[in-house]
Every structure is written in structure tokens, then in C-alpha cells.
């Protein structure tokens, strides 16, 4: 796993696992996004349906998914649904995002993070390298154990 870029953008600490330039346009609400034809960045609240974005995937460069509480896991499904539909832009997890959750979010297709609390770089690096094997196919490139066993 490459070291993330921890540069501050707009005052918020961000962890990016992408090589492209950060998207400049601010994310708008889902309602605003659906109501205007030229927006390229959208914020999805945890109770909003990611599938509402699917007809517009080609023009999207940034989707920010809200995690209002770390216990609210709806965003994990939102991330996978977008990736399964072929979305390749930035997928950002924002909110109560804890260091121990970032490896799971990466597996669900998230590639940028804006946690409300700071994330210790060493703890994150350890969390990202800890599990060398995974049991399921998900939205990342990792091959599940069953594929390795029957390679």
C-alpha cells in the first residue's frame, strides 16, 4: 500500500490514496446535484441512496460520503455500489472515521478520507499492512483467499 498524501486541503486533514490532483470544486448536496446539469462533486448523506447517482457517474469526479457516527455503516454499501457501477472518481469518507475502519473502507472502494479527528500515521500504516489475506472479493483489487487457494 502506498503512503497516503496527508497534505491539508481547505483546512481539513485528508488522506488520499490517489495519484491525480485533488478535485477543486466543492461537493454539493444530492438534491442540488440532481437539480443542476454541470456539477461534478456531490456529498451523500448516510440516509441517501447512492443509486440515485448512477445515471450521472460519467460526469462525477468526487463523491463524499458522510459517516455521521462510526457506528453508521450505510456508507460502506454506498461506496461499493458506486464502484460496482463503474465509478472511478474520488470516493471520500468524511466524518467520524476511525483509523481501524480505514482498511475496511478502502476495501469498499473509498480512496480518500477526511476524518474529523486526526489519524496517527504510524497506527494507520500498521493497520494497512496488518492483514495479508482477505476472505471476500470486494471493491478493491485484492484477491480473496479462495482465489489464491485455487489460483
Amino acid at each position: 500500500m502506498a503512503d497516503p498524501d496527508q497534505s491539508d486541503i481547505g483546512g481539513e486533514p485528508k488522506l488520499r490514496f490517489r495519484n491525480d490532483e485533488p478535485h477543486e470544486e466543492p461537493a454539493v448536496t444530492l438534491d442540488s446535484f440532481l437539480g443542476q446539469s454541470n456539477a461534478t462533486a456531490v456529498r451523500l448523506e448516510s440516509d441517501e441512496d447512492a443509486r440515485a447517482l448512477l445515471p450521472h457517474i460519467d460526469r462525477l469526479a468526487l463523491v463524499e460520503v458522510a459517516f455521521p457516527k462510526f457506528r453508521d455503516g450505510r456508507g460502506y454499501s454506498a461506496g461499493r455500489i458506486l464502484r460496482e457501477a463503474g465509478y472511478t472518481g474520488e470516493l471520500r469518507a468524511q466524518g467520524d472515521v476511525l483509523v481501524d475502519q480505514i482498511p475496511l473502507m478502502l476495501r469498499c472502494g473509498f480512496d480518500s478520507f477526511a476524518p474529523e479527528a486526526s489519524v496517527d500515521a504510524k497506527t494507520l500504516a500498521e493497520a494497512l499492512s496488518r492483514y495479508t489475506a482477505v476472505y471476500q472479493k470486494a471493491a478493491d483489487a485484492r484477491r480473496p483467499v479462495w482465489a489464491l487457494r485455487h489460483g
Binding site: 462510526f70 461499493r80 471476500q136
Partner: protein, 542 residues
């Protein structure tokens, strides 16, 4: 039995190190108790009334002698010399020190055991039929599917922060010994009209404060689509299960509110998409797992004759020994419910003894049951007397399987931070009161919960007891008519509650009523279903 390969071992070992680091961060003050809580819960570590409680997973209730001895070792070294087997086929230790918990997990990992996902709002330990692979009435052994589910659900990236906990059970027989209809998902292998074996899928059962018997949402699921269909079931729940109220967050509420047909429709729609993603493990992986569960090399030409000349042995034989699919073999259930004992508790010495017996007499296999007993699945009939003698010498030969003394009880207010009333002393009193008459009463499943969360399955007891707090005093409600088996039903409350002695008296009046009304061969539950609540109520309160 399943054996870990390098991948399985690496994952469990990594978990130990992760948890060690999380505990270190907590003890160093780097994370708050609030942040630590979900992390320790995902490892089965609860903060209870007096100490930490550690729940160790026993996947689908199957283990070998080496693993069983490790459970005894943990009880001796890190607890007070005993453990408590639970209704989800796990074991709990009640006196754990936080700083020692990582060492316990490290020791467990050396024998392919763990505490992964034994709590938290994730997919919990998969449960199954304790007679799997031995039962005479089995279509297919469900354990390979349970192991496939164990792997699929372990650290599932999408389903680790569900609205609420999620319990899955798999069986492969018509007789339901695992309470599948009272699980979030219950899976039953069965044969369809075309002769193919697949799954009947029940979704949305559960106990707690809103008990529900799960409806069937798909009568036949082909084996090849197993994991992708589970993904679809869980995704619909993760997205639409309620998160506004912890008491309405289980999948049973979602299924109930939108209806089983609508839930099934949403799952089918999601599945149509999900099954294009290649999430199902290939048949070769299932076959690899299934090979570990191939029937052991049963001896042939064994005699089915058993010497019944010792009358105490004969009583136990008739009550605690079940039919095995192989000639000359039998299934032994060791009751952890001695008269006046604590249901589900076993000392380290008893655990070691059961391990020894498994190694010597049961092809190195043991099972834990949801009724908090232990099974030796493959015992030669010729060895039954020797097994009984060894059990009897260690206080493990209570001949009361499925009788009123075979009580399911939660830990209750003696240990649990959620409880409103004590369960254990009540179980002890009931067990003593009916010790002499239980054989005459026949099958009678009595279940006690110390609070509305229903860990003691009171809704599903032929007789159920719910402990509540009434103005600071423990009060016990009595329920009749529940069942967790294939004829699943929910019990009804008889009327006003009782104090501890009062509820024991009320049970006595209920069973006396049964005795006076029963017809030949009728169980308590059958009589209740035939005559209804009225005569029981009359006797209890009249």
C-alpha cells in the same frame, strides 16, 4: 473437522496482534473507552458488573480435544477455574483482566481458535446442528457451509457496522436442533422435487423484546449462489435496517415493517446485480472445505446390543443418547445441568475430562449445543457404559436431556450488566424442585432470561420465565407454549408475575395441570396447544 491453512492462520494471528495494539493504545490513553468499546466488542470482550467477560467462538459448535483442553487451560490460568457454555455454542469467561486478554487470544490462536465477531454489530459466530454429520435424519452435513460462511463473514468490509448484531444458523435436517427460525437468517438444506439439494432461507427471526418467528423468503436457493445471495440479504439490511432506535434495529423489524414479500423482492433485485460480480467462491473451494468434514472412518460390523443391567446407566441411556447414522454408534449428550447446578457451567477439570473422552471414545470430536450442553457425536455403543461411568464420576451424568431440569438460562444479574433479575438461583431452585418428577413429565423445555433481551430464550420455552425489575424488586413473568424447534412458536404470558419462590410454585401448578390433562404420548407443549391457556391459568391463579 476443518483445519486452518496458512491463510486462515495468518488472519487469526494478525487479529491477535491488532487487538494487542488496540489494548495497548487504550491502556496508554491514546483512545477513549468510547472509541475502544467497538474494537473490544468485535473481539468478544465485554465490560460486565465485576470484570471483563471474554466470549470465545466455537464455530458451529464443533471442536476437538486439543481445543477443548485449551478452553480448560484458559479457565485455569486466566479465570477462576470454570467456563460458561452459551446458547450460541460459544464459551464465556467471566473474570478476565483487560491486560491479559491479548495473551488469551494468542494462546487460542495456537489451536485455531479466536474470539472474532463474538459481539458487536456484525455477523456473529455461525451456529449449527450439534448432531451434524452424525444425525440419522440428515440430508447433508451443514458444517461445510457454516465454515464457508465463517470465512466470508470474517472482517467482511461492508457488513462490520450493521444496524445491529446478526446471527446466522445452518442445518441439514428436518428436525431443527439449532432454532433456525429464531435467527436473523436461518438456512436449512433440503431436497427439492427435482432431487437437488439447496437452501430454504428464513429471514427475520429473533427473540429480544420483539420476538418473531422468521418467514421463508426463498424456498430453494441453489448452492452455487449461496454467498452472493447472503451478500444481497445483508446489503438490503445494511442500507435499510433502522438505525434510529437500538430496539428496532434488528433485521426482524425491517422484515416485519416492510413485509416478508417486499423484503424478498428487494433481495432478489439486489441479488440480480450482486451475482454478476463473481463473489461466490468456486465449487472447488466448497469441495476443499467439505473434504474436512467427510464422514470419519466408522468401524463396521459393530454390535448394536447394549448391556442395560445397571439401572442408573439405563436411565441415562434412554434420556441422553440419540440415534447415529452409522450402525453400532450413538450420539451422547453430556448434560451440564446437574440438579441444583448452574446451567452451562463446567469446571476446568470437567472440560479436560470431556476432552479425554472425546479423544478416546468419539473420534476426537465434541460439539456444544445451543441448550448449553456438550455432545460426543461418535461413540461406539459398546463404549457407552465406560463413557457413562467416567461422566458419572465427575458429576456429568445428569440424565435429563430435554427434561425440565435441562434448563437454558442466561447469566442474569449475577454477572450481566444488562440484567434486571437473577437467573441462576431460580434455575437452581427449579432444577431441585422437579428433580424427582422430571422423567414422568417427559420433554419439557424450560428457559429463563434475566431481562427482556432474552438471551435465555424464554420466548421459545415450552415454559419460559422472564425476570423483570418491578420497583426495585425482582419479579418473574411466566410464559407457556413457546418452541424453538421445527414447530417454532412464541410463548404467551400467563398473567401477573411472581417472586422467586412464587414462580416455582406456579410452574408446579402448571405441570400438575398438564399431568391431569395429558393424553397418551402428549408432551407438555402438545397438551398446552390442544387445551389452550385457560386451564393452566385457572390452576396458576385460581
Amino acid at each position: 473437522m476443518y483445519k486452518y491453512d496458512e491463510y486462515d492462520q495468518a488472519i487469526v494471528d494478525a487479529r491477535v496482534e491488532e487487538f494487542r495494539d488496540q489494548v495497548r493504545r487504550r491502556l496508554a490513553g491514546e483512545i477513549s473507552e468510547d472509541q475502544f468499546k467497538p474494537l473490544r466488542l468485535m473481539n468478544g470482550l465485554y465490560l460486565q458488573l465485576h470484570a471483563y467477560m471474554l466470549r470465545v467462538a466455537i464455530p458451529y459448535g464443533t471442536l476437538n480435544a486439543t481445543q477443548m483442553r485449551m478452553l480448560a487451560h484458559v479457565a485455569r490460568k486466566y479465570d477462576k477455574g470454570y467456563g460458561h457454555f452459551t446458547t450460541r455454542q460459544n464459551i464465556q469467561y467471566n473474570w478476565i483482566k483487560l491486560d491479559e486478554a491479548p495473551d488469551i487470544l494468542a494462546e487460542l490462536a495456537t489451536v485455531e481458535m479466536h474470539a472474532i465477531q463474538t459481539s458487536g454489530n456484525c455477523i456473529r459466530n455461525i451456529s449449527s446442528d450439534q448432531f451434524a454429520g452424525a444425525a440419522a435424519d440428515e440430508v447433508e452435513d451443514p458444517r461445510p457451509w457454516a465454515e464457508l460462511l465463517r470465512q466470508w463473514s470474517t472482517f467482511h468490509p461492508e457488513f462490520t457496522y450493521l444496524p445491529r448484531k446478526f446471527k446466522i444458523a445452518v442445518i441439514g435436517a428436518e428436525e431443527d436442533r439449532a432454532a433456525v427460525k429464531l435467527h436473523d437468517i436461518g438456512l436449512q438444506l433440503h431436497r427439492n422435487d427435482a432431487g437437488e439439494v439447496g437452501f430454504r432461507v428464513f429471514v427475520g427471526g429473533g427473540m429480544g423484546r420483539t420476538p418473531m418467528v422468521a418467514p421463508v423468503i426463498r424456498d430453494f436457493l441453489p448452492k452455487a449462489d449461496f454467498l452472493s445471495y447472503m451478500e444481497a440479504c445483508l446489503r438490503v439490511y445494511n442500507r435499510y435496517g433502522r438505525r434510529d432506535n437500538i430496539y428496532k434495529a434488528r433485521i426482524k423489524i425491517l422484515v416485519h415493517e416492510i413485509g416478508a414479500a417486499e423484503y424478498a423482492r428487494q433481495v432478489e433485485e439486489e441479488w440480480a446485480h450482486v451475482k454478476t460480480l463473481g463473489l461466490d467462491a468456486p465449487a472447488a473451494e466448497f469441495e476443499r472445505i467439505a473434504a474436512f468434514f467427510a464422514p470419519p472412518a466408522f468401524e463396521t460390523g459393530l454390535s448394536d446390543t447394549i448391556d442395560r443391567s445397571d439401572p442408573d446407566f439405563a436411565v441415562w441411556l434412554d434420556q441422553n443418547v440419540s440415534a447415529h447414522k452409522a450402525p453400532g454408534y450413538a450420539v451422547v449428550t453430556i448434560s451440564l445441568k446437574p440438579t441444583g447446578g448452574i446451567p452451562g457451567d463446567a469446571t476446568a477439570d470437567q472440560i479436560d475430562l470431556m476432552a479425554d473422552l472425546a479423544e478416546r471414545y468419539s473420534l476426537d470430536e465434541l460439539r456444544i449445543t445451543h441448550a448449553q450442553n456438550v455432545v460426543l457425536p461418535h461413540v461406539r455403543k459398546a463404549d457407552l457404559y465406560a463413557v457413562w461411568q467416567a461422566l458419572d464420576a465427575s458429576g456429568l451424568a445428569a440424565p435429563n436431556l430435554d427434561l425440565i431440569g435441562d434448563i437454558i438460562a442466561c447469566p442474569g444479574l449475577d454477572y450481566c450488566a444488562l440484567a434486571n433479575a437473577r437467573s441462576i438461583p431460580l434455575a437452581q431452585k427449579i432444577s431441585q424442585r422437579f428433580a424427582a418428577t422430571q422423567h414422568d413429565l417427559g420433554e419439557l423445555k424450560l428457559k429463563i432470561s434475566g431481562c427482556i433481551n432474552a438471551c435465555g430464550h424464554h420466548h421459545a420455552g415450552h415454559i419460559g420465565i422472564l425476570g423483570v425489575d418491578r420497583k426495585g424488586v425482582e419479579n418473574y413473568q411466566l410464559l407457556l407454549g413457546g418452541s424453538a424447534a421445527e414447530d417454532a412458536s412464541l410463548g404467551r404470558i400467563t398473567g401477573p408475575g411472581f417472586d422467586e419462590d412464587g414462580v416455582v410454585d406456579a410452574i408446579e401448578r402448571a405441570v400438575d395441570t398438564y399431568r391431569s390433562l395429558r393424553t397418551e404420548g402428549e408432551r407438555f407443549l402438545d397438551t398446552y396447544r390442544r387445551v389452550g391457556m385457560a386451564p393452566f391459568k385457572e390452576a396458576i391463579y385460581g
